[in-house]
């Protein structure tokens, strides 16, 4: 019989398969748009002596550069809390996963942590893409994500706590500082993805309202190291300052090229929002000394809480390691979660959400308080100057913690940008 198969047979196979699929699919149909879906059952088990939390950071791929340090900070915080008796008397157990620098992997691993490992909360994520990928997973499964990185704002989810800065706690203070120091024109350079684009939209609106001229706006592909053209254009534009939203490796090439064509921090300072202590080493202090950065935390912040944090971190990971803003925010996020759980007296998501408002933590950057409305935290803005020792030193600080305003509702000039959910 081997030579008998033909098109008719194919048609039959196809029809049969289609029929099976159709049958099973219709029989299995669930709720339609507009109907309520049965809420997912949480499987978090708090009956034992331990409680599981997830740590989801990229340990491989391009983002591993930044995210491995965040993982270290999370681990440190968990160890400290455990040493102090745990949360609700239970020891915290970390379930570690690799996000592999890919949004789909973040989504997959987040779902695994929630549904298979039954973790009470997940700490991690870095890129906006990873957060956007995880958001529906946490909402659909009604679980909690603590996201530790400054980001572009314009988001608020019941299921995410944002412990990094939103735009009004980082970018707007940076612009305020530049305006205060007499900057009348700026040049925008950024990597081509959502954070720089959103940040630059805000900067343009701000500039228009405050009489600052934007002389140029350039984007390079992520990871690009080709800056001849852009740096030449920057030099030709002769702005008072450059606002830099480049990401990762691109900064190295940018600052080297910048110094090479003879531009200096004195005549045209660069304000960066993605360069922290970790990155300075890779760029080379000699290329970036004197330039500015905008964050909420530096290793040099003078507070007892920070002294303890830096000491503990160096003890755990080596004296040559530095601490940075995202690490601190990640460290804070674990403490904030623990404090919220203690306040709620429960690990249940609904209880944690209900208790979150007003929960505070005396963090290395100062006291941070959760805003129950938008799930962000209050943060003190700091402008730092990069010094010869590779560390950043505060040159300007906001008057106390700034309330988070992710949709920039409190800024008239941002009315065109602000979108409410």
């Amino acid at each position: 019989m081997p030579l008998r198969l033909n098109a008719r047979h194919l048609a039959r196979t196809l029809a049969a398969t289609a029929a099976i699929t159709g049958l099973v699919a219709t029989a299995a149909c669930g709720s339609r748009a507009g109907e309520e879906t049965a809420a997912a059952e949480s499987c978090v088990d708090t009956s034992g002596d331990t409680v599981k939390v997830g740590a989801l950071n990229s340990l491989s791929g391009t983002m591993a550069i930044s995210e491995t340090t965040v993982r270290d900070a999370i681990t440190l915080a968990v160890d400290e809390i455990n040493a102090a008796g745990g949360v609700q008397g239970k020891e915290i157990e970390i379930v570690a996963e690799d996000g592999a620098s890919e949004p789909t992997v973040f989504a997959e691993k987040a779902e695994k942590l929630i549904r298979e490992d039954c973790v009470a909360a997940v700490f991690g994520g870095w890129t906006s893409a990873s957060r956007k990928a995880m958001l529906p997973v946490f909402e659909d499964n009604d679980s909690l994500l603590y996201y530790p990185v400054q980001y572009e704002g314009l988001e608020a989810s019941e299921n995410i706590f944002y412990t990094g800065a939103t735009t009004n706690q980082q970018i707007i203070p940076a612009l305020d500082y530049l305006a205060e120091t007499g900057v009348k024109s700026i040049y925008l350079v950024g990597s081509d993805y959502v954070f720089p684009r959103t940040a630059n939209a805000i900067i343009n609106a701000y500039a228009e309202a405050h009489g600052i001229e934007v002389l140029g706006e350039d984007y390079v592909t992520l990871g690009s190291t080709e800056f001849s053209t852009i740096v030449n254009q920057v030099k030709a534009a002769d702005a008072d300052a450059v606002f830099n939203t480049l990401n990762g490796d691109s900064n190295v090439a940018f600052f080297r090229e910048y110094a090479n064509v003879g531009l200096t921090a004195e005549e045209m300072p660069v304000m960066s929002v993605s360069i922290a202590e970790e990155e300075v080493g890779g760029i080379g202090v000699e290329n970036i000394e004197g330039q500015l950065a905008a964050w909420n935390y530096y290793q040099t912040v003078d507070s007892p809480a920070n002294t303890a944090f830096v000491e503990a971190f160096k003890a755990a990971y080596g004296a040559d390691r530095v601490t940075s803003d995202p690490m601190e925010a990640a460290y804070n996020s674990v403490y904030l979660w623990a404090a919220t759980v203690e306040k709620a007296g429960s690990f249940a998501v609904a209880d944690v959400q209900a208790a979150a408002d007003g929960v505070s933590f005396d963090s290395p950057e100062g006291t941070v308080v959760i805003d129950g409305e938008n799930h962000h935290v209050t943060k003190t803005a700091r402008i730092g100057r990069i010094d010869a020792d590779g560390l950043l030193y505060t040159v300007w600080e906001s008057d106390g913690p700034i309330d988070p305003d992710p949709f920039l509702d409190g800024y008239d000039w941002a009315a065109d940008l602000a979108v409410t959910e």
Binding site: L3, R4, L5, N6, A7
Partner: protein
């Protein structure tokens, strides 16, 4: 009798070097026409030119139609088939599949997308003719060397080529196989034009109806075996080459 294929003033140049420099050639049906000449005489290049592989100036006309500038597969469809110095067959396919593909250049997409229910009659016949009937389901890759050459010739036959250009069809064959191949060539030349590029003089003497001798890209002599053998220039070229070869061997 009109020529099945007529080539006029064929010239092929590589980087200024003329591999073929103005060759005229006529192939007639019913004839086995040998192309001989020393290495580098331009025999294979001439075949490449006719079949559209090498760019040339001049003219190749088959059945009143100019072939110059046509694509390889268009020329093949005009009924010009060729083989290669090393037999090129589809090694992972069976003999039957090889021949079936060769027979099907004109098949409609619909036919192609269906399974073959049975082999076309002329494929079966050709398999018989080239002596591979009992190998129908054998992968071509494990055929003996000579059998591959026959298969390749068979592929041209089922493809209805009436001008066959065979590049060293008996290379690597034993005595008996050569004999069989020679008879096969005569058999298929009954209603086709067959051109054979060969080095083997004995084989040429035994089976050539007509011979063209190429030297340095040009026709040195043409005619019957005897006419060509008696030509002093041919003798010189071949003796000279023989002498060079001998020198090279001792060097």
């Amino acid at each position: 009798m009109s020529a099945a294929l007529s080539c006029k003033q064929i010239e092929v140049a590589f980087d200024g070097f003329k591999a073929v420099a103005g060759v005229d050639l006529e192939l007639d049906r019913g004839e086995v026409h040998f192309l001989i000449g020393p290495n580098g005489a331009g025999k294979t290049t001439l075949v490449d030119a006719i079949t559209g592989l090498a760019k040339y100036t001049g003219s190749v006309v088959k059945d009143g139609e100019e072939l110059r500038g046509k694509k390889v597969h268009h020329i093949a469809r005009k009924g010009i088939g060729r083989t290669f110095q090393t037999a090129t067959v589809f090694e992972n396919l069976t003999v039957a599949q090889n021949l079936d593909i060769a027979a099907g250049a004109g098949r409609s997409p619909w036919t192609l997308l269906r399974r073959r229910k049975h082999l076309p009659q002329h494929v079966t016949d050709t398999m018989e003719r080239i002596g591979l009937k009992d190998k129908a389901d054998t992968p071509a890759g494990i055929l003996a060397h000579g059998q591959k050459q026959w298969l390749e010739i068979g592929m041209l036959l089922v493809g209805d080529a009436d001008v066959l250009l065979l590049d060293e069809p008996i290379a690597g064959m034993g005595h008996e196989e050569r004999e069989t191949t020679g008879l096969l060539l005569h058999d298929i030349a009954a209603d086709r034009a067959v051109a054979v590029v060969e080095h083997d003089m004995d084989f040429m003497r035994a089976f050539a109806h007509r011979v063209t001798v190429l030297h340095a890209g040009a026709v040195l002599a043409a005619g019957t075996v005897d006419e060509v053998s008696d030509d002093p220039r041919v003798q010189e070229v071949y003796l000279g080459t023989a002498k060079e070869n001998a020198d090279a061997a001792t060097a």
